[in-house]
Every structure is written in structure tokens, then in C-alpha cells.
Symmetry: C2
Amino acid sequence: MPETLTKILDKVNSPKDLKVLNINELNDLAQEMRELIIKKVNTTGGHFGPNLGIVEATIALHYVFNSPKDKIVFDVSHQCYPHKILTGRKEGFTDKDSYLKYTGYTAPEESAHDLFKVGHTSTSISLATGLAKGRDLLGEKENIIALIGDGSLTGGEALEGLNNAAVLNSNIIIVLNDNDMSIAENQGGICNMLTELRECCGEVKNNFFEALGFEYHYVDNGNNISSLIETFSRVKDTDHPVLVHIHTIKGKGFKPAEENKEPFHWILPETLDHLNEPAALQGESYESLTKDYLLKKVSEGEPIAAINAATPGVFGWNKEFRDKMGSHYIDVGIAEQQAVAMASGIAKRGGKPILGIMSSFVQRTYDQLSQDLALNNTPATLLIFWGGISSADATHLCTFDIPLISNIPNIVYLAPTCKEEYLKMLDWSVNQNSCSVAIRVPMNISYSGTVDSTDYSILNKYKTVNSGKDIAIIAVGSFFEQGKKLADYIKSKLNINPTLINPCFISGLDKELLNGLKDNHRVVITLEDGELSGGFGEKIASYYGSSEMKVLNYGSQKEFTDRVPLDELYKRYRLLPEMICEDIEKVI
Amino acid sequence: MPETLTKILDKVNSPKDLKVLNINELNDLAQEMRELIIKKVNTTGGHFGPNLGIVEATIALHYVFNSPKDKIVFDVSHQCYPHKILTGRKEGFTDKDSYLKYTGYTAPEESAHDLFKVGHTSTSISLATGLAKGRDLLGEKENIIALIGDGSLTGGEALEGLNNAAVLNSNIIIVLNDNDMSIAENQGGICNMLTELRECCGEVKNNFFEALGFEYHYVDNGNNISSLIETFSRVKDTDHPVLVHIHTIKGKGFKPAEENKEPFHWILPETLDHLNEPAALQGESYESLTKDYLLKKVSEGEPIAAINAATPGVFGWNKEFRDKMGSHYIDVGIAEQQAVAMASGIAKRGGKPILGIMSSFVQRTYDQLSQDLALNNTPATLLIFWGGISSADATHLCTFDIPLISNIPNIVYLAPTCKEEYLKMLDWSVNQNSCSVAIRVPMNISYSGTVDSTDYSILNKYKTVNSGKDIAIIAVGSFFEQGKKLADYIKSKLNINPTLINPCFISGLDKELLNGLKDNHRVVITLEDGELSGGFGEKIASYYGSSEMKVLNYGSQKEFTDRVPLDELYKRYRLLPEMICEDIEKVI
């Protein structure tokens, strides 16, 4: 890759510096920014295609509008790198040592040009209606701009926002960044409607946005700064709701990304250095096991429906898998509520829905889990991926799914500890017809080496893996390995042989087993890979509340952590065997 | 009211009996059903206007389609009484002694003609897409019909469902029951779009539904059985997605309800017997206090925004209040996600959003509470109404808000116990700028009689109302009165003077106070008016897990109860003072 030149960018330290540049300089600036983004993201990893596609629109927005007085709300903010470059944070892209200085999402603590901390999709229009209403109540004037992608537009919150923005009766400008892609291919009637608009350059018989009451503008070349500036200038200071539909190219300026958009949505470090090498063979994983299982069931004629909400990559549901699954594969778009309700309907009609969802996004569909699914006891299977304590960005934490799912009546929430259990639980869930089941799929595969012959229809039956005395460790799912380590440490340090329990069920108590522990145990330790507050351990503590048993709960605290290294979190939450052992010594 | 004649209905025991009737008989049947509904609902209370409006459409649906082979999914099922009459449950309307035999919602346990237990809105299209997909995977054929109202259409789940239904590529028929009303007036761009369709008899420049890919049909007189039969017959057995837009009259056939739709959406028993009497004067309530407070702040020039999602009646936000509030009143339609995100936006821009929401509906907006609000620490005020254990229908339980809200980081969840605290907390919340606050508004007003001078910015500071020993009672919010009763009972029964604590804060622990209790207390009792699982008490139990303190938690179990009388629930959950005292005696 050539040495990056930043001769225009050198002069741009804030959006106002853009306004003195001519169109050639702006175009050169776009090129400089694009090269910086490519280089930076290839070093650190991050969102690639979305940022390359929005460079010109970001320049044009900041050229025409006056941020931070005018307010630009980014949706999901996968596409805020150009914005960060132009709003005083360019060293995060020019200076290798500062590459990790800024988050990959908008962050008000970094800059007055960022309005909200955002990382889940479909929020910008609703947030912008609030800003606009607040402005109006205060009797002030400014432009409120909501930027949203075509993929994000299919989320319920975005559509609720659109319905409300349309009748605001004052200034609000929605910029629809249509690159004809969600993370994977777009889905649904809205996608088809946008395709028609693009194909007819905005001139169609039935204009969806005009039907809702928006003044509609179309920019066919959304990577052309002049066209964008012209249209944005025309709608600036509008006194009514406007929607500007800009057609951009995801991955613009990096050919492989333009041609093959899905794998370049988000890339790992050094991806671009190995483009022509064949993909490394992946070892066995919960993702590969799931895919193999689903394909096998389909080949056996089962009415399987593998459902997801626009994130097939999370589960390794790549194009090859999707093609093989055919009509058994469903991507509902960014629409988690639809995904859960549809799963319930499929199960009700005798199909076998298996819904893959990332822990962080389960919370986008609580009411559907409760009302459409649990209340109706429909036998759908939910696979919750990535659940656990991590060094993720504050917007993508995966620590909240245990409190969320396990406090809804009726749903059976299972926590496998190894491949053998996972496959047995999955198969049990798919073949039963009496309840809704969620399975917390661990990140890293492990093996028990023995066939799992458990009958999971006997609910809330915990497994005693080692029968000891004095101390019992109940270690949930992906923290079972932690439990084993702790048991070993206790044995060597305290010369006590602790009981080790794999509860298998997160959503219920094995009262018989818990009662039995009272006979020869004084302390119960719970370990869960997620938020303590409202979680599994507190239920154990409550159960033993009237007894002599001491209970110590370990998991994450109720907090939004932001890119905190995992080892630091483990220390903060006292999850290390030696720390837990210290705590035990205090109570024993 | 005249004696109800049911000579046609006598012959109708299931939908197939309709098919031999001629149009005059069908019309007479509609009249008979309408009279039964008026009489029954005026006796028991229930949904009035929605059911009167849908009589003809229900007859036509069952005349044309073959339920239960063909599947009709009701949205929210506020409008399922005519359906129940026609599907083997007419004695619930003809026989006074059977008036309470059936729930007011669809219920699969009652009839094969009911697909789902439903009571929250905006679900029918998504559920129907699942039924259709299940049918297609099994290679079978039938009609899948989703009935949805214009009010429900603005909910995110409904719009996500519409986006997916449009591309199903097989049979799905959406019947949009447009009576130009949500519970209150309709809101938003979708409402305006539907108005235009009605005014132009379905012929408009920009057809929203055609833009999405639906075949669109319009029935201008949706209370005309012939027109409905004709259109339903035309779309029956379609092989692609169809939307039939029917224009009905909410409250049809009962003039006061036709003319004044909002108060007749749901009525109390005997409402129709007292139509000409002036409304009884309402005493002071948390609703009236809230309204007075908001109007006062508006009159002082504060940028207040009183927001709700289509349920102003829950908070007593009647027309008079709405008119007085003017632009300070916002109804976002059935769109709880929008309501929360918009509140966050308003707060960010310096406005003062106060969002009223019923406990049962908080769960429709978990991700927005977490991401749009809590993560951004925007100073919005949420008023959670009706939270508590009740004899409600399974779909409208209000027991889940404590686990839901109090396990999200950053949100301060307050539980006032009396008028004085409520007003102080509300005023504190509205005037502060550092965090998102939710207040659990009790159902019944009580008074402390003393000025509340608490500084609620000192978070998680519990109040010791009585300092005793041995036993401490921590009684949350609306259960504080229960705590007082328990304290009295313990005093007389056990001759112990128990400590009584009003925690004020549901979302955090007062560790100093809890630690202090260890000095001279052996048992802590927690009382909360909601689900124990994931709730407040478990956190207290966990906190004391390493100590000698015994902890007994009281609240509701994790279950969907369905119209269980309150006294039965109190016994089931051992909430009565004598039962708790029995439990205490076992551990003390």
C-alpha cells in the first residue's frame, strides 16, 4: 500500500475547515481519508465497508451543516470513522500509536460532535425526533439530521421513528444511506422498495416515503460530493420532515470490498494482506457443529427453519450454508422482534424453528420472548451466542442475557459445558413439543469425552460432577471450566475436596440437590459468565436465605464496561481462583 | 335495553353453520351478536368499541374462510368477542352465568379457532408469517389471515412483520381493520397515509402497501357483510401476500360509542346505564397529582414533554389535560421503543421528558431503555404505572418491571410509598441532569403526613422508619403498607419490635445500612410487589450470603397467572402477615 498523503487533511481540524475548500480539494480529501481508513482498519480490525462508503457523504454533511450546532445522529455508528477524522480526532487514523484512542462508535465523551453512544441499530431517527422536539420546546433553531442505513431501516424502532418523524411539523432531515446491503444481503419489502427507487432514480409509482408524508429527495451517486452538497444545501433549514435517499457503494474505493461486500463489512487485522490466500481451515466449533446438525436434519426431511436477524456471520452461517439450507434458511433483516414472533408461529404450525441470536441483541426482543413465545409455550429453540464477560465496547456487551431470559416464566434456559452436552440439548430441544428453549452457546469448544445420555425433559436437574464436602461450586455453562480450576485450587490450597456441580439449567433451581448439600456443605460458590444482578447466583442465595449455608456469588457487576481488558475484568469481579479462595477463607 | 333475540344465532354453533345462511340472515345475525356484546360488556366490563366495529368482518371472515384449517390470527385480540361467539363459545355472551367463562382475549386452551394467547399489540403479522412459513415447510395449503388494527400497525413488531410478510412469496392475507382510532386518537405518518386512502377510497398517488409489495384491496364499508364477503372471496387462496384494508366504525351500532370513541374503547360494568349522569368527581390520586405537577411546570415555562405510547387513559391524561398541555403533550402511537428513544433525545437537547408507561408494556422497550437511555445517562423520567401483583389476565401482568428495569446499569429505579415521597422524587428527577430515572407509581394513594425533605441525589440511601431489633423488614414501594402490617403482627405475635425500612431505591443496595443491621438483627424480610426472580429481594439475599443473617424474600413467583383473584395470589405467595410470621418462627 502506498504511503498515505494527507496534505489536505493537514489543514482540516474541525468541520469549519472544510468550508474553505473547493470541490477538487474536497475530492482529494476524500481520497486521503479513504486511504487512512483502509490502513487503520487493516491494522486494528473494524468496520470497513460501511466507512468506505460514507466518506463523501460525511464530507458533504459537514460542509453544508454546522456541527455541533446542527446535530448529526449516526445510526449504529458503524460508519462514523470519516466523521471522527473530520471532527478533531484524525490522529486516531494518522498516528499508529493513537489507533486505539477512540472507540469505533460515536461517543459523546470524545467530542461535542457525537450526540449519543450508539452501537445497536435502528435508533437514529427516534433519537433525532427527540432532539428536534427538545429544540422546538426550547424555541431554538438548528438542523437535526438522522443518518441511517438501508439495513437498519427494517428495525422496528427505526420504523416507529419514521412514523413519528413524518408528523413532527418542523425541521428534521433523514439521510438514508442506501448501499443495498445490510451486514449480509438485505431482506424484505422495504429492500425491494428501495431497489425500485434506485432503479428508477427516485421516480416510482408508489413512493413509500412520500406516502408517509416526507419530502423526498434522491441522490443517485451518493459518493459524489458535488451532488450531495447540492441536495443537502437544498434541504438545509427546512421547516418540515425531509428524507434524502442517497445511493452509495459499500466498500467504495477498495475493489475487493466493492465486489464482495459481506466479508468486508467488518474485518480482522491484516485481512487485506492475505486477500489471495485461501481461507484457513476452521477447526470444530459450536458454530460448525450447529451447521452440521441443521443440515443433517434438513436432509432427513425435518421442517427446520434456521432463523436470524441479519447477523448470519455471528454463527458462521456463510453463503455456502445458506445455499444448502435453501428455504430452510430465513434472514428477517434487522428485526429481532419479527425473528422471535416468526419462530413462535413456525413452531405453532409444526415447523422446527432454530433462532440464532447474539447475546447483546436478545434485549431487542424482550416482549416477544415473553408474550409471543413463552406465554404460548411454543417449542422454538433459541441459540444465544457470545454470552459472557468480554472486553467488548459498551454497546456490545453480552452479559445481560441471563437476567433477561431466566426471569421470564416458561422459557427453559440451558447452559451446556461441552460439545456432547450441547448437541444433546440441541437435539432434545428440536424434538420436543412442550416448551420454548434457549441454549447459551459457549464461545470456546470443550469436550467431556463421554456420551451425554441426559434426559433434558426432566427440567432443572443439575449434575454433580464431583461429590465432595464443605464447599460446593455451582459453575454455569461457559464458566464450568472456571469452576474446575477453582475446585483444583481449593483442593491444593485448603485441602478440601469441593463438590463441583454443572447446573445445566439456568432458569430453574434443583431444590432436591440444593437441599441435599445442606447435609455436609457450609459454603456454596456460584460462578456465572454474566451479570450477577438478576442472574443465577442470586437465586441460589435467596434459596439458602433461611438456612445456615453461606453463599458467595461470582459474575460481572451491573455496569456498562467499555473495552476493558478481560484480565482486568476478571480481577475487578474477583473471578480468579485465588481471589475466590481468599473470600472462602473469610467465611469458612 | 330490549330483550336480546338470538333466533339466527341459535342455529350457529360453529363457523360452518354460517355458510348456509343468506345475506339477510347474516345481517340479522350481526344485529343479534351486537346486542349480546353490548349487554354482556355492560355487565362485566371489557372492550366495547373494538368488538362492535368488527362484528360484520368477523362474520364475513368465517363465512369465506374455513377456520380452524384456515388460520385467523387476531392482533391484541381486543376485538375477538364476535369470533368467540361464532366459534362455539356463545354461551359466554348469551348466558349471564357464563359471562366470565372465557377470557377477553384469544386463548388456544378455549378453542382450536384461537391460535395464540395474545394481549399485547402489533404481533399478528409476525406470528402469521411464522404460521405461513411453517405451512410452506410442511408442504401444506391453507389460508393464513392476520387481522390488525390501524392503531396496532404503528408498533415496531407489526412493521417488521409487514416488511417480511411482503416477501413471503406464498399465501398470507393481512386484514387491516381501520377504524381511524387507536385507543386514543391515532398518530403519525401511517395514520395520515391511511386517512388519505380512506378519503380516496383506496386510490392514492403513493400507495404505502403496494410500495412494500402487497396486492392491495380496499373495502370502504367495512361493516357491510356483502362487500366484505366479496373481497375476502376474491383474495382467498391467493399465492402471494395480500393486504385488505377495511374501513370500519369503532363502536358501530351504539351511537354514543360511535360519536365518542375513546371512552368506549373499554368500559366498566354498568357504564351504559349511567350515560347521562355527570362523571363522578375523582379524588386525589397519583394520576391527578402527576397531571397537576406537569401543568404547573409547563405554566412556569419548563420545557416539559409528557410522552406516552397510545395509552393516555392509564395515567388519566384525558382530553382536557392534553389540550392544556398543547405541544408539551406527545402521543407517539403504539410505539414504546420510539417513546423511550425520543425521551432520551429530548433530554439530551435540554428538554424535560416525562414518559408514562404501564408496567406490562415496559418490556416492549428493553433495548431502548438500555442503549438509548441508560448507556447515555440521559436525564429522562419514566413513570411506571400499575406495577404490582394483580388478578389481571396473563397477557397484562405487571409483575416483571422490577427485574427488568433494576438490572439495567445506570437507571435509578425509585419506589415511593406515599404522596409526599412521590412528588419529591418526581421533582428531583425532573430537575436533575445526571441520570435516567424510573419511578414506580403505586396504584393507591397514601400519605405520610410529613414533608419529605430527602435529597434523592444521594443514591441508594434507604430510610429506617422504625428502629427495632432481631427482625428487619425491607418493604418496597407499594408493599410498604404490607410491611407496616407485618411489623404490627410481629410485635403482637412474637413480642419483638422489628425494624421497618423503606428502601426508596429498587435499583441499588444501601450497603452501610445493611451492614449495620448485622449488629442486632438475625432475620431480614424483603417484601416486593412483583416477581421475586431477578428482583429486589434476591439482591439482599446475595448481599448477606456470606454472613449469619437469615433472609426471607417475599413477592410473586415466576409464572404467568391468569385472572387469579388477588387474595388467592397473596396466599399462594405467602404474603399474609401470619404466613410470613410462621416462616420467621421457623428460622429464628
